[in-house]
Amino acid sequence: MIEIRNLSKHFGDLTAVDDVSFQVARGDVLGFLGPNGAGKSTTMKMITGFIAPDAGSVVVGGEDIAVHPVEVKRRIGYLPEGAPLYGDMTVKGFLRFIAEIRGYRGGECDQRVDRAVELVSLGSVLGKPIETLSKGFKRRVGLAQAILHDPEVLILDEPTDGLDPNQKHDVRELIRGMAEDKIIVLSTHILEEVDAVCNRAIIIAEGRIVSDGTPAELVARSIMHNAISITVLGNAANGIRDALAGLPNVRGVEIDEEAGERVRLHVFPEGGAMLIEEVGRMVRERGWEIEELRVERGQLDEVFRNVTVGEGVMV
């Protein structure tokens, strides 16, 4: 369990983190979302004990990092933003250094390094200097370093930044595979990632938590959540719109696109109600020829924009 209590940090006049509190339990993968400069990295730097907060505390497994910094750091694996590494060392030399600092000696040191190398598939570059590696490999070395001691708590600052889609997939699989018995906090600005690996998402903007919930709850806040997208052949756009608007539980209908012989509309439900049955019945009754009919889940980036750009944007 990690507990973040009323964390604040100022840099001069800038308030980077403003009274942030949350808890993460074992088995949780918490996605930390927010625009650039929102305070994600600063919060992570405070959780890992790199910088001290101006106010508030970080407690990991019952120990306050301000009181027992070394003990808490032992429990944490951390991938800092940009995955900084000692470029002049070889991958193997670097991981051995980390293993030694983590207190492993002799055979156990080798075992730990081998296991981490295997988990992130670094076998082919073991003897190469880190500075000669591609961005994807460097990021994986950073990950290997963070998971080497099989930590209770894993803090990953943008773990998939700069990776290609296959590598992203691999890293997400790795995180999912470790999630069960760990506390994982990862920051990202890729929204699909939250959906893919996290069971909880916190959105932070201007140093404050503006949203905290499961990815599903987050998506449910989208105006597109459970909306029906329908494309009808024909040109009576306004007639179709008015007919759909007359259905029960419909908050509004929007003509998305009108091109030649087809019209595409969005039907927004009242309070997230399911409309597919009613819309389907209407399609049959009126004999519309339809090209597409589907229920939208909602768009994370729209929710993200709404909660981070400021109040008043959300309808």
Binding site: F50, P69, K73, I76, Y86, D88, G93, I98, E100, R102
Partner: protein
Amino acid sequence: MSNVVSIFKREFLGYFSTPIAYVFLAIFVFLSGIFTFYMGSFFDRGQADLQPFFQFHPWLYLFLIPALAMRLWAEERRGGTIELLLTLPVTISQAVLGKFLAAWAFSGIALLLTFPLWITVNYLGNADNGVILASYLGSLLMAGAFLAIGACMSALTRNQVIAFVVSAVVCFGFVLSGFPLVLDFFSSWAPEFVVQAVSSFSFLSHFNAISEGVIELRDVVYFVSLIAFWLFANAVVIDVKKAD
């Protein structure tokens, strides 16, 4: 302690993973030879000792040691690895000490590589090897003081060039403070004890005796406390401005 050893090993091997080590060692040995034979008139003196060699060490260290120390922390800042290092289960003092000891051991190797001079002087005459050993130890101690200053200056910036220039200037101040040039400036207006104090801060006044093979406790205490002070300052600087 084991953390200090791990950091020491990493830093020490780090010198050899780039050409820095070899360039530094070659230049150090070459320059100490030049100083000894040309400027120190090693042969003309007709004495079998290494005083001409040791008396130039403060000047040699003045620009070579800052070059050795400049990367210690500035590089960590520039590469962001300081965040990696300080979120590992190590204390700042362990990191400061490990890095310093690595650089110090490296300068010790540079000193050891001047052994041909020692062989030469023993070949040419009956040298007092006790005196030579004492001078070597004293020189190593002084190198440590230069290094501690350099490490602290390196902690202040992410730019190695700035770290080099600033630590060279600070070291220059410590070397010069025993010179009449500096002392006259103070003696014209400051009370005697201030002049004495400034003079007593000089590397030169403490090293002169050492270069003749006389190790006095006060000189050792001087260099050791100088090292302790600057390493402490180094740790404070890192603690206060880790993330800058």
